[in-house]
């Protein structure tokens, strides 16, 4: 069932699956964001893809809120029919940034998760080959995009 | 008399000779010098004057000078022509704004550049290839008649099959160089050469047989003489087209230069050659192109026969041969500016599905043309 407008989509999500998500916000026309619980994010993702038609993976990235001690992983998804963009956000504590990998649901997230792993140190369980994407293979230590990164680990 | 005493006696004899006769003989030689030099020169002059024609043939026309000159002119022309098609100028600064020195500069640079041998390559085979490569087309070119009596190597009435036999050797070398250079790109390139030559060689041989059939003899000179009334391109138009396409395929010119496809295989089987080795292989490419073009002209465009204007056959001379060669080279370079490169499977499909049956059809038509409908 394709929701006509953003507000209906958000209301429906909150009504149907309150236990899967913390919050759902409408930013502007055709742009919605959903903050999911880390443990049940796979189910919510499957529902979003199968029932709500968010089948096109756009991108994924993380933000490091060092003052609040948390990292937020954002998945940008697109519904090809209604052209809605949905930002699926997952908050992870900074001390153990673990998260189930989304590659079974959206296969193209493979690259983006590898990049988030090497830049932020977020461990994606179930990822086919979690290796370096952009950094050299012999990169030792240091997650560059974290706020507390002081440039250690640069190969000599 | 055991060996030691023999050696000892020999040394003694040598020393005695050195002390006594050696100075005498040296003095005699010096005294006879004033008369020796003019005599030597005279002998040399007689030698050159007497067999001037074979010397000219060996060195100039089908020989070394012509081959090198053709390679240089073809390279220069191709770069200038391609440049013009691309709205730019091409070699400009070397040689007074025309760039003709550029080719010489390139050849010199290639010959003096240090060449690198990959560490675990088969050294012998790797170094043998660039030497063998130019020899085969050069050998084949010696059979081409540039004038009725201007044939360097007289194969006794069988010059066409000998030419095809020698030219048939050509694909063997890239195959073992590809393996010898111990590089993945060269291996793929050499396999491609093998596929290409098999699919390209057989239609050519059949078409050549068709022309020999029409001319009634296997000798290239007789084939050219048989074309006096009319060039074979007209009665055998299908053969003419097949041979032209086959020529581009054999010489690995652009629509079919699959083995050395720069965009996929770096340089195909020539990837590991550098310096003088690369210079030889590049020259070999132009030589095989020259060889096949000359055979194409002899078989279909009436070799050295001048065109018969209003029934009056113009005096046949080497000039016509070179003129036709120039025209064909211009057409092939124009084809290079216009067409992309075909994939290997498309080239093979063209070779087996189209060229082969057409050449058989062409052979059948010549038989009918020659002996009417006896069968």
């Amino acid at each position: 069932m394709q929701a006509r407008s953003e507000e209906e989509l958000v209301e429906e999500l909150k009504r149907e699956h309150p236990e899967l998500l913390h919050d759902a916000i409408v930013h502007r026309s055709k742009r919605v964001s959903v903050i999911a619980k880390r443990e049940r994010v796979l189910e919510l993702a499957r529902i979003l893809r199968d029932q709500y038609g968010f089948t096109q993976p756009v991108s994924a990235g993380a933000v490091d809120y060092i003052k609040e001690g948390r990292m937020q992983m954002i998945y940008y998804l697109m519904n090809p029919e209604t052209r809605f963009m949905l930002m699926l956000r997952v908050d992870l504590p900074r001390d153990d940034p673990r998260m189930p990998s989304m590659t079974e649901i959206w296969e193209a997230m493979n690259f983006h998760e590898r990049e988030a792993w090497e830049m932020f140190g977020i461990n994606f369980e179930g990822h086919p080959n979690l290796t370096h994407l952009l950094l050299p293979p012999d990169w030792r230590g240091g997650y560059p995009l974290r706020k507390d990164f002081r440039g250690e680990g640069i190969t000599p | 008399m055991d060996v030691v005493t023999l050696i000892w006696l020999y040394i003694l004899g040598l020393v005695r000779w050195l002390l006594h006769e050696a100075p005498l003989q040296v003095i005699n030689f010096i005294r006879s010098l004033p008369t020796l030099i003019p005599e030597l020169l005279k002998w040399l002059w007689d030698f050159i004057w007497f067999n001037f024609k074979p010397l000219a043939q060996i060195i100039v026309i089908p020989g070394l000078a012509f081959i090198l000159l053709f390679a240089m002119i073809a390279v220069w022309f191709e770069r200038k022509f391609l440049a013009r098609a691309m709205l730019r100028i091409g070699p400009y600064y070397c040689g007074k704004r025309s760039g003709w020195l550029q080719v010489i500069a390139d050849f010199l640079k290639l010959f003096f550049k240090e060449f690198v041998i990959p560490d675990d390559a088969e050294k012998v085979l790797f170094l043998a290839a660039p030497v063998l490569l130019p020899t085969i087309p050069a050998l084949a070119i010696t059979l081409i008649p540039f004038d009725s009596n201007w044939v360097l190597f007289d194969a006794g009435g069988l010059s066409l099959p000998v030419f095809l036999a020698i030219a048939g050797l050509a694909p063997v070398i890239p195959i073992f160089t590809g393996w010898a250079a111990n590089n993945k790109y060269t291996i793929i390139g050499s396999f491609r050469t093998a596929y290409l030559y098999i699919s390209g060689e057989i239609p050519l041989v059949i078409c050549a047989a068709a022309t020999a059939l029409l001319a009634g003899s296997l000798d290239l000179v007789d084939i050219v003489e048989a074309q006096k009334p009319i060039w074979f391109a007209i009665p055998q138009f299908i053969g003419f087209l097949i041979f032209f396409v086959g020529l581009i395929l054999e010489a690995e010119r652009t629509p079919f230069d699959v083995p050395t496809a720069e965009t996929e295989l770096v340089m195909g089987w020539r990837t590991e050659f550098s310096g003088v080795l690369f210079g030889f292989t590049m020259m070999a490419e132009y030589l095989s192109f020259l060889g096949w073009t000359l055979l194409f002209i002899v078989l279909y465009l009436g070799g050295y026969l001048g065109p018969s204007l209003f029934g009056v056959p113009l005096y046949d001379h080497i000039f016509w041969m070179l003129l036709k060669l120039a025209v064909i080279v211009v057409i092939i370079v124009l084809i290079r500016t216009v067409y992309p490169r075909l994939r290997l499977d498309q080239t093979l499909r063209l070779g087996w599905n189209y060229l082969m049956p057409l050449s058989l059809l062409n052979l059948l038509m010549t038989i009918i043309l020659k002996w009417g409908l006896i069968i």
């Binding site: 991108s59 290796t131 | 790109y185 965009t263 290079r336 067409y339």
Partner: protein
């Protein structure tokens, strides 16, 4: 990237950065004879950490580094960043500036598509005529850029609040003459390239990407539209002046390399129409609103701007923390998505070694954009 293990029956070739046609990336291909069994894209050779650089640049200074992400199409990339900054800081843009932005973006798109033609023609074999024509025809556009912005490639002409300068006088009929000239030139391209039977043989039916696979694998730009999905950010979320410009979104059905080439070809015609519309109906008025040189942002605001670059949809997501510099800039680069599609193409259909560069350059990758 650690290489996955090699199966016994295939030969692994490193189509490395030192290859005449590979660009600045390494592609590992498992080859069985002539057939490519598996493609592994090993990207990251030109990773400059632009997202980290932008965290240390103020909002206006950030324009110059982000333009270096795609040098062929700097206008659209800079527009993505500048619109995100304007949304985050709440800056208004006058109408005339929007129209000038659309004009420059369309000229940049044509410039980038011409560059893509040249490479796609070059990799089907040394086919020199058309490749150098594109270089000559880009000269026409580069001269227009030089007159308008002062630079030929990296214009850094967009500023939060508008554009840096107005159109020089006499510029509009120069644009009209250039559009006339380029329309005639594309007739030659159509005859020499698209109608060329050998070129068609090399491109038709090669690297086919079906509609569902294109969506599932997250393709974008001409790669997506070549498979029949009419997604174009200029139509979905009109930004700059695309709201009141009329143009068509080009799609092809077959989804092979030839379809992608035709999509780019017709997109250029649409861009030329847009340039003509802008030259005729551009409104008057100011070109730039007053914005301080070092604007300060409000804490905790985030803004995502989506822009249709020549290679696909670019998303720039800026997070601010009230300082002079953005807290975090997340760039969703189009080429990274297309490179994943390229990696999966080996399993979708039969790819030969000779087809590899043709497919790679029908996706029109820009490795600096993919590595950020």
């Amino acid at each position: 990237m650690t290489e996955p293990e090699i199966k016994p029956e295939v030969m692994r070739i490193s189509w490395g950065p030192q290859h005449p046609m590979s660009g600045q990336t390494r592609i590992l291909i498992d080859v069985d004879g002539e057939v490519v069994r598996r493609i592994i894209a090993d990207i990251g050779f030109t990773h400059r950490g632009i997202e980290k650089i932008l965290e240390n640049r103020t909002f206006i200074q950030g324009i110059v580094p982000i333009e270096r992400m795609v040098m062929a199409d700097t206008a659209n990339i800079a527009l993505g960043y500048v619109q995100a900054v304007e949304e985050a800081l709440g800056i208004e843009v006058p109408e005339r500036a929007k129209w000038i932005r659309s004009l420059i973006c369309e000229m940049g798109r044509i410039n980038s598509h011409l560059y893509a033609f040249g490479l796609q023609v070059e990799c089907t074999g040394y086919f020199p005529a058309v490749f150098l024509w594109t270089t000559v025809d880009r000269e026409v556009l580069l001269d227009l850029f030089e007159k308008l912005t002062g630079a030929r490639w990296s214009y850094s002409f967009f500023i939060p609040g508008g554009v840096r300068a107005d159109l020089p006088e006499g510029f509009r009929d120069e644009v009209r003459r250039a559009v006339e000239y380029l329309r005639r030139r594309f007739q030659d391209y159509w005859d020499a390239m698209v109608e060329n039977p050998l070129f068609e043989m090399r491109n038709r039916g090669v690297g086919v990407l079906s509609r569902e696979d294109a969506i599932r694998l997250g393709a974008t730009g001409p790669v997506l539209r070549g498979s029949g999905v009419d997604m174009d950010v200029r139509k979905d979320e009109p930004y700059a002046a695309y709201g009141d410009l009329d143009f068509k979104v080009i799609t092809e059905r077959e989804g092979d390399c030839f379809a992608r080439l035709k999509v780019r070809f017709h997109e250029i015609e649409q861009s030329l129409n847009i340039m003509e519309q802008i030259a005729d109906e551009i409104p008057g008025g100011p070109v730039r609103t007053k914005v301080p040189l070092f604007p300060r942002s409000k804490p905790g605001v985030e803004a995502l701007s989506r822009v249709e670059t020549a290679r696909g949809e670019l998303g720039v997501h800026i997070f601010t923390d009230g300082g002079l510099k953005p807290y975090r800039v997340k760039i969703n680069s189009p080429t990274l998505r297309n490179m994943y599609v390229f990696e999966r193409l080996a399993e979708l259909n039969r790819v030969l070694v000779a087809d590899l560069p043709v497919i790679l350059y029908s996706i029109d990758p820009w490795y600096l954009d993919c590595d950020r």
